[in-house]
């Protein structure tokens, strides 16, 4: 096993990796941008080096500077976490060239599976189902029509040059095809300067379900069940769980074996994830592969008992996977809520700022993977995800109850977070019943004017009175304790004054 590694990341995932390293008594080297000097991952690592100015492109994405630190600190390996350089084939290759182990797949495997089109080709070769589509740009409208009839309506026209819904048209029958092609091309031209479009089968209300695989360098590849990731907003995952309510043992095995086949075909090792769309009839279609650890890896860890980061370290160090597919059993259910510094009532607008109070929930079957601390300043330079709340239960019902409780206990003050929104989702009858798809959040919760309004409290009047009382007592205390200094905002917050006053109170007993 390695003696010393560098973690080329920040935030909760850097903490997660440091914890795994500590378990294995591996010395850790953190890197930090100038904005992150006080960050938690810097304090938790054994060593820490500044990697550059705040913008990621000058720091956490600066390949040569990171390799320079790796050389100077004499590390054996680099863990990229997720995001940043984790799926960067150039970085993986540069590590290989420098003789530093990249804790992930080989640069060739990243190249093969990291590119969506290339991965799709490998998948098709291996007989892995993909969303049927023309792949190439449509030159001839009649060919498009023939193809649509072949794969069946509805189909979707997509702009070849870009995304974000621009130049996209859903076509439900052959009558609409011609006009849809025309308007899609015109929109694509004005949005991207290129009218090219292609055709794909439209999966209605699909679920986003992914398979976790784990493979060593000796050709052993295992699947660790699925994760249900359909709860998204702005195409970003909000809530993930394992198992999925719609995946039965047979489907799990079929998807798992398919995923293993595709990963093996790419010569893959390390932890990896194959993303699928699943339609109402439980047909699954390969979307893409993430050649790295996922944000939502904890839900798989909770149901399998396998520490994925430790496995990544072992695999990278050349160890063999020590168990078989049969030994991987899913126990109970797990769910993750991502805590973003965003305002759900204002279209999930980022909410950077100072965290005045941070109280994570504790107690049974609660896991918090957090990258922040009370007093921390959430900066505008990086991702807004500040923590993940993961809950395990014997079944999904227990998970939902426990998650509600944990969300209630979780206090993050000073910034807006997605916590109140998650509470609302936990009470949604469709969500509770397991009936949802990738458009669920927008279709159920979006309100045009305010964004995603939160639930109204039942006992709003009484609560409001209590809030008024609390504010007035705070105001009174401030006045009582400083009659001479008129209204300096900070006085109320001076902890040492009240400590003295508290002692006076205690003596009063």
């Amino acid at each position: 096993m390695f003696k010393k590694i560098l973690i080329a990341n920040r935030g909760e995932i850097a903490l997660r990796i440091i914890r795994a390293c500590r378990d294995l008594e591996i010395t850790t080297v953190a890197i930090y941008s100038e904005a992150d000097r006080g960050a938690l991952h810097v304090r938790y690592a054994d060593e820490a080096y500044c990697v550059g100015p705040p913008p990621a492109i000058q720091s956490y994405l600066n390949i040569e500077k990171i390799l320079e630190i790796a050389r100077a600190a004499k590390v054996e390996a680099i863990h990229p976490g997720y995001g940043f350089l984790s799926e960067n084939a150039t970085f993986a290759r540069r590590c290989e060239e420098e003789g530093v182990v990249f804790i992930g797949p080989s640069s060739q495997a990243i190249q093969a599976m990291g590119n969506k089109t290339a991965a799709r080709k490998i998948a098709i070769q291996e007989g892995v189902p993909v969303v049927p589509g023309t792949e190439d740009v449509i030159e001839d409208d009649r060919m498009a029509m023939r193809f649509a009839e072949e794969i069946g309506f509805p189909v979707v026209i997509k702009a070849a040059a870009g995304g974000g819904g621009k130049g996209m048209r859903i076509v439900r029958n052959s009558r609409d095809m011609e006009s849809a092609l025309r308007s899609a091309r015109s929109e694509a031209r004005s949005a991207f300067g290129d009218p090219s479009v292609y055709l794909e089968k439209y999966i209605e209300e699909p679920r986003h379900i992914e398979i976790q695989v784990l493979g060593d360098k000796y050709g052993k590849m295992l699947y660790l069940g699925e994760r249900e990731c359909s709860i998204q907003r702005r195409h970003q995952k909000l809530i993930e769980e394992s198992p999925s309510v719609i995946v039965d043992p047979d489907l799990r095995q079929r998807m798992g074996k398919t995923a293993v086949r595709a990963a093996l075909a790419a010569g893959y090792y390390n932890a990896g994830t194959l993303e699928f769309l699943v339609d109402k009839n439980k047909n699954f279609y390969f979307l893409e592969m993430n050649t790295r650890l996922q944000v939502e890896h904890p839900v798989t860890e909770m149901v399998t008992g396998i520490d994925l980061v430790k496995e990544q370290l072992r695999i990278a160090a050349g160890e063999r996977l020590s168990y078989s597919q049969e030994e991987i059993q899913l126990h109970g259910a797990a769910m993750e809520c991502r805590i973003y510094a965003e305002d759900p009532e204002n279209h999930f607008m980022p909410s950077p700022g100072k965290i005045l109070v941070l109280q994570p929930p504790l107690g049974p079957w609660i896991r918090v993977d957090s990258g922040t601390f009370q007093g921390d300043e959430i900066s505008v330079y990086y991702d807004s995800m500040i923590a993940k709340l993961i809950v395990w239960g014997r079944d999904r019902r227990e998970v939902l109850q426990r998650m509600s409780r944990a969300l209630d206990e979780y206090k993050v003050l000073g910034i807006r977070t997605t916590i109140p929104f998650h509470k609302k989702v936990m009470k949604n009858p469709h969500f509770i019943a397991g009936n949802f798809h990738t458009h669920f959040i927008d279709s159920q919760f979006l309100d045009g004017s305010t964004g995603y309004p939160l639930e109204e409290e039942m006992d709003a009047d009484e609560l409001r009175d209590i809030a008024l009382i609390a504010a007035s007592l705070a105001y009174k205390n401030r006045k009582d304790s400083s009659p001479s200094t008129p209204s300096t905002n900070r006085n109320i917050l001076n902890p040492w004054k009240w400590m003295g006053r508290q002692q006076a109170l205690r003596r009063g007993f």
């Binding site: 109070v357 807004s384 916590i419 809030a467 008024l468 009382i469 609390a470 007592l473 009174k476």
Partner: protein, 169 residues
């Protein structure tokens, strides 16, 4: 002690009686015709424990932009106390022209796209400008219906938190 408090655009009058210790004791608070026997304890600069008619509450109270933020059972209240300073503040705040809306940058970032130009009519809820921050593009929207009076930035410009971007009328 009698206080006027402003919350959700409504003013409440509170009468506070009989509290003896400044960081914890029992007293009575009247709000309108409702009377509460309040047993409270300040446990932390920001943390208050209140027991009122047997019910236990935990409130975090902090100063935020001239008013008190109160977090109570996961709900956040913004409460202004209308002492002399507060009343002055309220008056000065009222100086924003009625019917005008200033769309400001909610955080430091970069203007990615202007979705309107001067003179355009906008609906409430319509996107006006896109600002990038925290790896995300954020569409800022109009909260009133009106027309675009002034645009203070251009695409690609870096902006600071609170900086006015677009003014509607």
């Amino acid at each position: 002690m009698t206080l006027e408090l402003l919350v959700n655009n409504q003013i409440y009058t509170l009468e506070i009686k009989e509290f003896q210790h400044s960081v914890g004791s029992t007293g009575i608070v009247r709000i309108g015709d409702r009377e509460y026997v309040v047993d409270y304890r300040q446990l932390d600069p920001l943390l208050y424990s209140l027991i009122i008619q047997g019910r236990s509450y935990q409130a975090f109270v902090y100063k935020a932009e001239g008013s008190y933020g109160v977090d109570l059972e996961g709900k956040t209240y913004s409460i202004q106390i209308l002492d002399e300073a507060g009343k002055r503040l309220r008056v000065s705040r009222a100086s924003t022209l009625p019917g005008q809306q200033v769309i400001s940058a909610p955080m430091p970032g970069k203007v990615i796209k202007l979705l309107v130009k001067v003179g355009d009519p906008v609906e409430a809820g319509q996107g006006v400008v896109v600002v990038e921050a925290m790896k995300m593009e954020n569409e800022l929207r109009a909260s009133i219906r009106g027309i675009v009076k002034e645009i203070k930035v251009s695409e690609g410009m870096a902006v600071n938190s609170g900086e006015p971007l677009v003014i509607l009328e």
